[in-house]
Assembly symmetry: C2
């Protein structure tokens, strides 16, 4: 064995004075009744001495499985994916699976080149908030989509985004609001389309309901400008419904710039309930999406799929969390 390359099971065998088969049996833990305890100990000590670690590529080839699942996300910047990962990894670990994360920006093309993705030595894919066609290049690999269009090719686990939005509007309507502004993420993701549609439908169903819309990037400065445009209208909204919590932070700033008090002069809502929601002042009324459970359920579904089953579509309800950023509209006489 040259000093430069890692020791193999054959090196361990030589060191321990046994055959490679025996090393594999011992280290694989399946030696009961086949190898004497003394020999087994000798093998383990030899492995230890040489610092042996099995070659994963060889294992994977031999076993035909990697017991590794890929979590595909469009970005690492959104804090939302932390809990999703946590839930998925917890379930996976319980079944002896590992999880690697791969970032697949929305603007990347489909994985059409057969050699484009060297990290693909995986058994399955958990794709969160991804465009449907991102999976195009992975045909043949079992996949479950999270928080994505259920009309796509793979089984999905979703949030009850539409219900959450309805609850939000009902809450605001109950406070007396009728004129709404939508600070909308200009991102082509299923979840945002659903949010927009549910919001429009809920407001339309409200007697006297009016909705204006303004788009922005997922970033506070851009959201601030979008909110400012809405507030500059001749008939400004009394409530700003923002597509996520970070956009709501931008709305806060637009309000303050105009000298408007939140929630006295303007109600603001977020969506997702990430850490930021309670860091803001006032704390943000938002819809809590059970992100960790999304990851956990998604992984459960994927493991079922890998086991040959057919997971059913699953919807996790969002829950309205009323905090300090919403209140009755000021009556202008």
């Amino acid at each position: 064995m040259p000093a430069t390359s890692r020791p193999t099971s054959r090196d361990v065998a030589q060191e321990a004075g046994v055959s490679q088969s025996t090393v594999s049996l011992v280290l694989g833990g399946k030696w009961a009744g086949r190898v004497s305890p003394a020999t087994a100990r000798g093998v383990r000590e030899a492995a230890e001495r040489l610092g042996y670690r099995p070659n994963q590529a060889a294992r994977n080839l031999r076993l035909g499985t990697t017991r590794t699942v890929m979590l595909m996300v469009p970005t690492l910047t959104a804090p939302f994916f932390g809990p999703v990962y946590t839930g998925a990894a917890r379930v996976a670990a319980g079944h002896g699976f590992g999880v690697v994360v791969h970032v697949w920006p929305d603007d990347a093309g489909p994985a059409d080149s057969p050699f484009a993705a060297p990290h693909e030595a995986i058994d399955g894919i958990l794709a969160s908030s991804m465009a449907v066609d991102a999976l195009a290049g992975f045909r043949g690999t079992p996949a479950v989509m999270l928080d994505s269009d259920p009309a796509g090719p793979a089984p999905t686990v979703e949030f009850g985004v539409a219900d959450g939005m309805r609850d939000l509007v009902a809450h605001l309507a109950g406070l007396g609001h009728r004129r709404f502004g939508h600070v909308a993420a200009a991102v082509d993701q299923w979840t945002f389309r659903v949010r927009a549609e549910a919001l429009a439908a809920a407001v339309a169903a409200l007697p006297g309901g009016v909705l204006a819309r303004s788009e922005c990037a997922i970033e506070a400065t851009s959201a601030r400008e979008a909110a400012a445009r809405l507030l500059a209208r001749p008939d400004p909204p009394t409530a700003l419904v923002c597509d996520d919590d970070l956009l709501a932070a931008g709305a806060y700033k637009a309000a303050r710039a105009l000298g408007l008090d939140v929630p006295g002069d303007l109600s603001v809502t977020g969506f997702d309930d990430v850490l930021l929601a309670t860091a803001l002042e006032p704390e943000l009324t938002t819809v809590r999406l059970p992100a960790e459970e999304l990851g956990a359920r998604g992984m459960t579904a994927l493991l079922e799929l890998l086991g040959g089953g057919r997971p059913r579509r699953c919807v996790l309800p969002g829950r309205l969390v009323v905090r300090g950023s919403t209140g009755p509209p000021r009556i202008v006489l």
Copy 2:
């Protein structure tokens, strides 16, 4: 070929009426002068028809390399790692390498079980903000540590955290502050230790400088309590130096709860300059750490290491960003 398993290069060969070698040559792109254009086209069409995708495990085993690098991070929740990934992935892609992210919580033990980490089919490790001993189980795998103790076993790329902290204190001292409070992250990471030491040293070097410290988790509520404890002291600080931007959000809330204006009655600073910093009101004075460049330089160093070189330690300076959360202390008569 059973319908259930994926087609191999041998299946493609049969479909195209050539040998497996030829398929490998064509799809590997090394057929110039060895295979006729017509045959090559036939092979590619056959591969397309069957939906062939090469088995990565077999490739990896044969080639002895995966051209994949693992980015190890302690959490996905911190927005800080998004840019780090982006920088690393950009450089990696330029060299034909892929990047997978693996989460390794601070409280996880070293990877000592030889079978614990199935995701390890990788050529190298980029470990960001990790405890030094997290690499213990990966001995033999080339690694570069980011934003970690340079006294560790692997080459490092660091931020000039100490310099950044010194600049911050100089800025506050220039405004007239002498009594400082440290809202400190109770996390055993190198970067936080350096921040604490640099802060303590800078304040001690200041004539009349006083420093109080209060610890918290990396989370707004906990930070709020820590800040409140500092502000409840008989001689409360006039400036709160927070270990990162999220903690500063907690400090804001503690201040407002006491009716203190930021920056009129109390100056607050953050660290890192993540998205949140400009979402807060007032916008946060902080130290900008070039996270994307950290990822890029780290990957450059790792690729150098993989190529047999010896990268030098590299320090990326942080830059003070003065925004609206700092001002001269109110003089109490």
